[in-house]
């Protein structure tokens, strides 16, 4: 209970900070919009609706992946300004609560971006989903959490490294590839309607398993990373 309260405190603080500056939200929104436009120009999806359906799952997630990487670096830079991170390290509240609070905050930010991006995406790519669209309501949060939980962790890991902007994608992408595969497959399956519902279910289950495993690993190791020096 107390742990949960600490997580909520951290979450509230992160939301408030973001609300006051709106740096990462604006950045992410515009960045993902640009990626969508660039891919739209490259593939001309309106003329080839079938192809559009097949590739848009991948494009959507790639856009979100890169957009969230820009925001993840931001979210720890905030703690580093004025050395607040040292106050966090001195605080008696568990370090993993700080991590969870921040990861949940990042999840919410990326979900907001997704909510704004979805209609734009549908318009630009002229999409009509052929599968059961409500499954996306499950796939999107699970997939986003998979990206964000490891992303928040590795952004903290690279915090004091040289080249930290470069290091985050270098570490995050290889680790997230199984999750990326699962969410792209599931999303494409829903959009094209080609994939058996059972198969989509398995992908979702896999994504859930990935989320659970890596959330646990992150929570267990975060204290070590925060105090590594």
């Amino acid at each position: 209970m107390n742990y949960l309260r600490h997580v909520l405190d951290h979450l509230r603080k992160d939301l408030r900070l973001e609300w006051r500056s709106r740096d990462s939200l604006n950045g992410m929104l515009f960045f993902s919009l640009l990626v969508v436009v660039v891919f739209g120009l490259a593939f001309d999806p309106t003329s080839y609706p079938t192809v559009a359906r097949q590739i848009s799952g991948g494009i959507l997630w790639v856009a979100l992946l890169f957009a969230s990487i820009t925001a993840l670096n931001q979210s720890w830079a905030r703690e580093q300004r004025n050395n607040v991170l040292e106050a966090q390290r001195m605080a008696p509240s568990p370090a993993s609560a700080l991590f969870l609070g921040k990861a949940i905050a990042n999840l919410l930010f990326v979900l907001v971006v997704e909510a704004v991006l979805a209609p734009i995406f549908i318009v630009f790519f002229n999409l009509h989903a052929l599968g059961s669209i409500w499954l996306l309501a499950l796939i999107m949060p699970l997939g986003t959490w998979a990206l964000v939980v490891n992303g928040t962790f590795f952004a903290a890991l690279g915090l004091r490294a040289r080249n930290r902007e470069l290091l985050l994608p270098l570490l995050l992408l290889p680790i997230s590839l199984p999750a990326l595969l699962a969410m792209v497959q599931a999303t494409t399956g829903v959009l094209t309607g080609d994939l058996d519902p059972i198969q989509i279910n398995t992908w979702i289950k896999q994504l859930l398993g990935y989320d659970i495993i890596f959330t646990t690993v992150c929570i267990l190791l975060f204290e070590t990373v925060l105090n590594a020096e």
Binding site: N2, K13, L17, E86, A87, M90, A91, S93
Partner: protein, 254 residues
Amino acid sequence: MQTAETTRSSSTPPTDVADCIVLDSVSKLYGSFAALRNVTTSFCTGSCTVIFGENGAGKSTLLRVIAGLITPTRGTVTVFSGHPHQQRRRVAYMSHSPMLYDELTAMENLNYFSSLHRDGGCACVGNPEMALRAVGLDPKLNRPVGQYSQGMRQRTSLARVLQSDPEVLLLDEPFSNLDAASAKHMVELLADFRTWPVAPVNGVMGARTIVFTTHQSALAEPLADRTLTMRNGQIVESQPVETQISTSATEALG
């Protein structure tokens, strides 16, 4: 090289003579640069120590080692006969950067940090409003800390460490950005802080211990009862400050 002085001002409550911070041949290396070299010293419970030294003499590193933010390359640090990491509730550290969120107001910052100290259901550890008033700031001031002046930030930062009611207070350059009046006020506040009662731990009466660094010896000497001088990562001099009783610090200044 040096011994722990057990001089104590008469105003602090009587405590056992135990040392709450012990450093045993502590060295810290950054690459081949030695920030601390074989530092052996101890700080007794209830004492107030000031560390003098040039820039780069290792003062800040010493404080950060005691705070548990830096693990020494060699040697051991003991705080309350434990690892510094285990004493987070009892130790507070204020660095020369403010350690506050620029986007939040002073009250929001303090409320947040006091929530980090919450244990169990009780949210009553520290009182942000009182701490802010103590350092001479208006709790109702509705401006983000980023717009504060250096001195105001410094005071907010002091309020942040005081509200957690620490037994050991580590201050890195607490007077550096303050004007004469606020600096004097801060010295008074710290002198007052030493007299705050501490809940007894394991039946032993506690006491407030302060370790701080500064360049302004005029401000520090009335407050401190021991001075350490550091050079090149070593403690080159350790001597008790003879005369004063810490309450006289306020009188001398006032």
